[in-house]
């Protein structure tokens, strides 16, 4: 399983790519593998300002549903609308085409609490 070292992670199996004050968020290879075939991603929070750990959407797989949590506080600037017609790219390319939202970071100090790749792997047991 693949966990890029340049990304940050959460215990909820999300990844975060930080570029300036923008954070791109998706789910990890481990998460997509546990969920199995993803049939749709529901994100209806575009434009909203949400706090860390609030639910910003959900992922429905054939077998189960999982909530998506804000890894940090901020405004949801964009969601990946291509997932509407092709949710399976989350399974195929979780760190690339399968990204889910872009957040404008509102509190940079929250970034310190994100996990680096080694900490994530040991916490997730992967």
């Amino acid at each position: 399983m693949n966990f890029p070292s340049e990304l940050k992670y959460t215990k909820d199996h999300e990844w975060i790519r930080i570029e300036g004050d923008i954070a791109t968020v998706g789910i990890t290879d481990f998460a997509q593998s546990e969920l199995g075939d993803i049939v749709f991603v529901e994100i209806e929070t575009e434009g909203e300002e949400l706090d860390k750990e609030e639910v910003f959407g959900s992922v429905e797989a054939v077998k189960t549903v999982s909530d998506l949590f804000m890894p940090i506080s901020g405004e949801i600037m964009e969601f990946n609308s291509s997932l509407e017609s092709a949710p399976e790219v989350v399974n195929q390319d979780p760190y690339g085409e399968g990204w889910m939202i872009k957040i404008r970071i509102s509190d940079a100090s929250e970034l310190d609490a994100l996990l680096d790749v080694e900490t994530y792997k040991s916490e997730a047991g992967v």
């Binding site: 199995g36 749709f40 529901e42 429905e60 054939v62 077998k63 189960t64 549903v65």
Partner: protein
């Protein structure tokens, strides 16, 4: 946690193993959707060796089974199989099961792994001295070969004429050069095919033979994930989801296996239900707006009054329709009734439809 006989074989095939009913079981290999479609269009083999096998013999067997099961066992002749259930005394169901008639007063009961001990204890309560029951679950493996190419995949392994086998019949014979294999024209997918019962000592040999002889038919191993979506697409009940200790067979639409031609456990109460009608019914439904119904989600009417609950739901990998099953008030149980499934606070419209959802 127990391992089934071919645990290592499934791991080598790339299965994701998960604990289920006390066993490590293959959940999926390639992925649920691909496996589901493969069974509908070609052929797949499921290792469902967790299922329980109880052998019942002795002169009192027929009377005993007539008492504890809801279907009419006297209708069975040698080589026939019957779907049935074990009603409890409180209006619910102990388990659903298959009853195989091997010979006069000689039966095989195939029960759910999750209920094996409960079923055994329940049956022992009613068993007289003229009946012998043996739990052979630890001695048997069970492979379900399902799909339109099942005959093609298996015919070279046996002299039994698979094409001519009638649904819900079985034969015991030579299969893959192994003696006393039970070849049963049954399954839980609606795709057609066979269930093959073999002793554990022969399991590897038979599995390998099935994979080899099925290669030309493009046979693939299929996990429990696809087994669940396939049965949901057909509207087949899963114990623990759609039926349980509290649900009546009449409410669950199992009136067809509840025969009042004989007395059985709780039959007088169930007969009243059948005659006077029930307040709720298990129905199938198709979501009209986006959302997937999951077990225990609430079902409401158009005014927001709660009228039921979801028992199973998924998105069909074949049709991509979001389908489900659940109990609803009788007023909303007819086909085309509009119901609303509450999905994370939202009322999502669905329409009652009779399965299968193909």
């Amino acid at each position: 946690m127990k391992n089934i006989q071919l645990n290592d074989t499934h791991v080598e095939l790339g299965a994701k193993m998960v604990p289920f009913a006390g066993y490590n079981m293959p959940l999926q290999y390639e992925g649920v959707s691909a496996e589901h479609i493969h069974v509908r269009e070609q052929v797949g083999v499921f290792d469902v060796s967790h299922m329980g096998e109880f052998f019942v013999s002795g002169p009192g067997s027929l009377n005993f089974l007539q008492q504890v099961t809801s279907n009419d066992v006297s209708k069975l002749t040698d080589g026939k199989v019957q779907y049935s259930c074990l009603p409890n005394l409180d209006g619910g169901i102990v388990d659903d099961l298959l009853v195989y008639c091997i010979a006069e007063n000689n039966y095989l009961l195939v029960v759910n792994a999750s209920n094996m001990q409960k079923d055994w204890d329940w049956l022992m309560k009613f068993k007289g001295d003229d009946v012998v029951m043996e739990n052979k679950s630890d001695d048997y493996s069970l492979f379900a070969v399902q799909g339109p190419s099942a005959v093609k995949a298996l015919q070279s392994l046996t002299e039994i004429n698979l094409t001519d086998m009638v649904y819900y019949t079985f034969e015991i014979g030579l299969f893959a050069n192994v003696e006393e294999v039970i070849v049963s024209a049954t399954g839980y997918t609606g795709a057609g095919g066979f269930e093959i019962y073999v002793k554990n000592k022969d399991a590897q040999k038979v599995w390998d033979a099935i994979m080899e002889s099925g290669a030309e038919a493009n046979i693939k191993p299929i996990g429990l994930g696809a087994r669940d979506t396939l049965r949901t697409e057909m509207g087949f009940c899963l114990y623990g989801n759609d039926i349980d200790d509290t649900t009546s067979p009449i409410e669950a639409g199992l009136g067809w296996i509840t025969k009042f031609t004989k007395d059985f456990t709780n039959s007088s109460n169930l007969k009243v239900q059948k005659e006077e009608g029930v307040r709720q019914r298990l129905v199938g439904f198709v979501m009209q707006d986006r959302g997937i119904a999951r077990q225990a989600y609430v079902i409401n009417d158009a005014d927001g009054n709660t009228i039921g609950r979801v028992t199973s739901g998924t998105q069909s990998p074949l049709t991509k329709k979001s389908i489900g099953m659940g109990y609803v008030a009788k007023s909303h149980s007819k086909a085309d009734s509009e119901i609303f499934v509450e999905i994370r606070g939202k009322q999502v419209k669905a329409v009652v439809q009779r399965p299968p959802f193909l």
